[in-house]
Subunit: 349 residues, 4 copies
């Protein structure tokens, strides 16, 4: 690729929150041009009419999801509901278009597990098995060579980045991991649902999906990989009254008498990661410190010097938990600097 030619980028399903966040990031990305943003419901409407924050930044209209247009792209992002991408992706791969899917279609390697949690058979099992799980901090090399990347879910990103160093070193009991995670309401998407109304979700806090959440098998799959075996995980998601942000509070029981310097372990593990920030010992990351940025901030604690380790992991669910990580994967797949277009300072306050 010439250094001056801009990548032609398409977005399928650009009306949801991950879609508009992709637009925000790509509109400011130095090496891409948006050539198609599709939406069946909004086709013909200027993108900036739906999202006035883009007025003056993006002069493009939503178009029908048309395969001929998309095959002219270098890379296409799918920001569609689960089950949509898997119907179109094979054609695009055949046309040598790279894919980053922000939905769940290609996240679980095992099609039976996929079917169990998503309720329908998988439509392209061979592509599923080719897809690379796009957590760069674990799979960077594979992402660089991938034709199709499954962009991780928001909870899975925060939880895996928090547990990885401990599990890689075999320091905690892998059978009794606890992930108590809290998400802002944008995680529920832009769909008009009563539970996401301001009057239902603000000034309140609740758990949900305790019996089983679709991100559970995804997290388990990722942690199995780093632990080298099956882990046992209790995952409890909660809804917290704010727009953006995930905070995962992770609990593991140390299995070795002398666990060593856990702070140093984390600092070392993430030393070269541009988007993981291990905070000083004793810190408590706030989700607002990553609002709008692609950073995961982590702090590690061992209360009262006991045998329970507590890891705090904070991301913006729409950025490192979705659109930002997708752009990071695009950068890696396309040979761009990994941080290109992703150096925004978080908005605080």
């Amino acid at each position: 690729m010439s250094s001056t030619r801009k990548l032609k980028i398409g977005i399928v399903g650009g009306t949801g929150y991950t879609g508009v966040e992709l637009l925000r990031l790509l509109a400011q990305h130095p090496s891409v041009q948006l050539t198609a943003v599709t939406s069946r419901s909004e086709a013909g409407q200027p993108v900036a009419d739906l999202y006035p924050n883009l007025r003056g930044h993006l002069d493009i209209r939503f178009s029908e999801p048309d395969i001929a247009t998309l095959t002219k792209c270098d890379l296409v992002f799918f920001a569609t509901p689960n089950g949509v991408a898997m119907k179109t992706v094979p054609q695009l791969l055949d046309a040598n278009v790279k894919i980053v899917d922000l939905a769940a279609d290609f996240r679980l390697h095992d099609p039976l597990v996929w079917e169990q949690w998503y309720g329908i058979p998988h439509a392209c099992v061979n592509v599923l098995q080719e897809a690379v799980y796009g957590l760069p901090e674990v799979n960077r090399d594979a992402v660089a060579k991938a034709r199709i990347v499954a962009n991780p879910g928001c909870y899975p990103t925060a939880v895996q980045l928090g547990f990885i160093p401990l599990l890689e070193q075999g320091l905690i009991d892998p059978q009794h991991l606890i992930a108590d995670a809290k998400s802002g309401v944008s995680g529920a998407g832009r769909e008009a649902k009563v539970g996401s109304l301001l009057c239902e979700a603000s000034e309140s806090f609740k758990a949900y999906g305790v019996a089983g959440h679709r991100h559970l098998p995804e997290i388990r799959q990722g942690l199995n990989q780093v632990a080298g075996g099956d882990v046992g995980l209790t995952f409890v998601p909660h809804l917290t009254p704010m727009i953006r942000g995930i905070h995962a509070t992770l609990y593991g029981r140390l299995t070795v008498g002398n666990a060593g310097d856990l702070q140093a372990l984390y600092v070392e593990r993430y030393r070269n990661e541009p988007f993981v920030d291990v905070m000083p010992a004793g810190s408590h990351p706030e989700t607002r410190s990553v609002r709008g940025s692609n950073v995961c901030r982590i702090a590690i604690h061992r209360p009262q010097n006991g045998d329970t380790v507590v890891v705090l992991s904070a991301i913006d669910n729409l950025v490192k938990g979705a659109a930002g990580q997708a752009v990071q994967n695009m950068n890696i797949m396309c040979g761009l600097p990994e941080t290109a277009g992703l150096e925004q300072v978080a908005l605080m306050p």
Copy 2:
């Protein structure tokens, strides 16, 4: 006490959030009259000038904290900062005034533990040892006979009510309890602190005090009592961007093969409790469902039928976690119906 004479009630320190919440509840209580509300800083000012929600409901002024006035009361609430009540309480007890302390002065039985966590020696150790810990669901009979009741902290109320049935029955490993608790910002009080500003605390989520929070020894003491031995507890409090509400997510590991019907256990344990509501199996209590009410709503889960039990416990930190429970204790101490003045329906939405 004659059935018609109203109890004379004093409040020391009526300007904070637990103070105004006491005023809201007592202004509508059928069997009490407020005879003194003290505040050094606001003495002389009508209470309703500071809290206009009380306009038309309460025609009383803040007064200097004067021992002569307080000794004319039947019962005095302390809604003061930690360390204040213990200096005045002995005089009031001598004058046959009953006491409910909403601060922490009388919560920990062991004066050395108290000093360790609160940083100053305890001023009246004998009263400390007489004081009854006012969690009616555990200590109702002792409260009924008490001259002085230590009103539990907000986190301790939510956490203890959630763990009690499991620990009483010896069903979970008492050495590895985890309490992941989330509080609205009113828990930090009405003091002008940067961290409690809307621009700092809204649209963000964070843990705090992971290394050790003053409610940890209080919770441990209470759980030790019901478990019949020392428990091990990891307690992580979090700040969630809303005014009122605590949600505790509790994790315990089952130690018996056949734990039985946990839902039935909880229903049975709290069958006669007017202020504990065990929700149907599969429920997720929302904090807003108890906003302004004295109820603790609990749900019990056993995800994927594994060995980890998850209990969800929600209260209004200012009501069941402070002023409401204080009124409940007053009712019990003074022979009033336990629910008198406490039957408000939560405000939803």
Copy 3:
């Protein structure tokens, strides 16, 4: 009516926010019993399943809207979408059931104006002309005799109560009234609409309906009555990121050289009104000071002693702006004390 028999009350359309607020208030009302709460979509479900704040307070299920059941009531509230009540009300009136309609069906006296703003012909014009506009501060005597009361809209309540004393005395130019009104999101109801999502409506502020809002003709009609002629009104509603509350900022130009003591005018006008609180000169009412209560708090200002009067008027849109005023009207219509069931202290903080 015997002093001991409780009024039998029905609610048609009990699932929305005004419906649940009616339930909250009526569940605590000393003189009523709820005999029917209808909802086509939720028929058969316990009311407290939808609104867990009512658990333990209300043991009734939603039922089909059945005319036979409703005719057994003494009074029926309609908390339905606009255009529903007018189809059923005539039958109920024939059966001697009193009606309070919380929707707009009976608010505008002129059926042509009604049709212009609501888009369909009115279904029972004769009832429309019989209906009394239920603003007790203006029409108390008529309400007391009414068979059917049109409960005022939320904005109209706040705006009219603010302007009335000035217009009654002819002190301001009636041709150039400005009402800049701000509402919490619950004013938009519990319907699942994108614009009411937390992620759309929180952390933002906007005007809406500047070209024309359905409350404009209602306010004008009410102000015409007190001004004794046609007024000119610019009404701009805004959406403010909170659940409950309306704050109207009203501007009028004084037309007389010596307008007299405006503060005294307001105090005198509302001296005997149980639910209008004229605050001391210089005050700024906060909407939270009326959260959950039936009070309208008003302050009057004349900045820099100029010719523009500024009136600040705050209500809880779900209480004095809807369900609370409806109960107030019920009390008046049924000969109960006007404040029965409406003496809650606002929840603050």
Copy 4:
């Protein structure tokens, strides 16, 4: 200035919200380097410790406000409380340092008016008279030549940009302007004040300062300039429960029979302004559409085709209302492209 040398920039008082917002913008500005960020209270502490969003973006510590350090800068921003800058500015001007003051010290031309509203005599009247009021849309040429620019207040920016086209054309009665303005809580700064606590300011709405706000004389001065004579203005500020954003709703009475196409007037007036966006007719700008961006979005309405014009004007109070406009002024003063470092897309949702 060589095209490659970066401007040396100092910030005095970098701990408040306008300070950190300056840091966010300048950290990403292509043509500047921060050489000093002073804070008496935080001297020695890394800036990113106070504002973790800057971790990895800014490696500088707070320093004592030292005149020798500041005189080495090309330009110094004052983000200090009112009354501080005027004590230091003369020395810096003498050393050929350019100044942008974000406080109010140099906003009012008349030192007597300044003293009346700020309560102390002005400390450097000659500099006051030299200072240029930094509203580029009015004073761009003067800003370009200025040594010292008084950065406008937040309300004055939103109100003036909204009224200017109408007043320039003499279309409305200048004696009876009404500006009903609503601000997020960050406008009150990062100072620990009870009124700015989340528990006081969230879930509520109120007016404040109706009797007189310091931005009133500033707005009047600016409008006088464009109207060519003294205007009469009623200005009512309100606090709205969100972090960022100002929405001004402006009312003017048309004085000419045929006012022409007001939409076209606004489009034309701001056609070449990079940071004023006139929205299509019928629009309602949301403050979130400018969150984090330097844009002022405006919509113009004439309800029911009457004689009252309603202008809606929305800004981010910390960007176009403070730090962003300050950077815009810096760009103009220093010959940089006016939009340098200011092209962020607003964060939405």
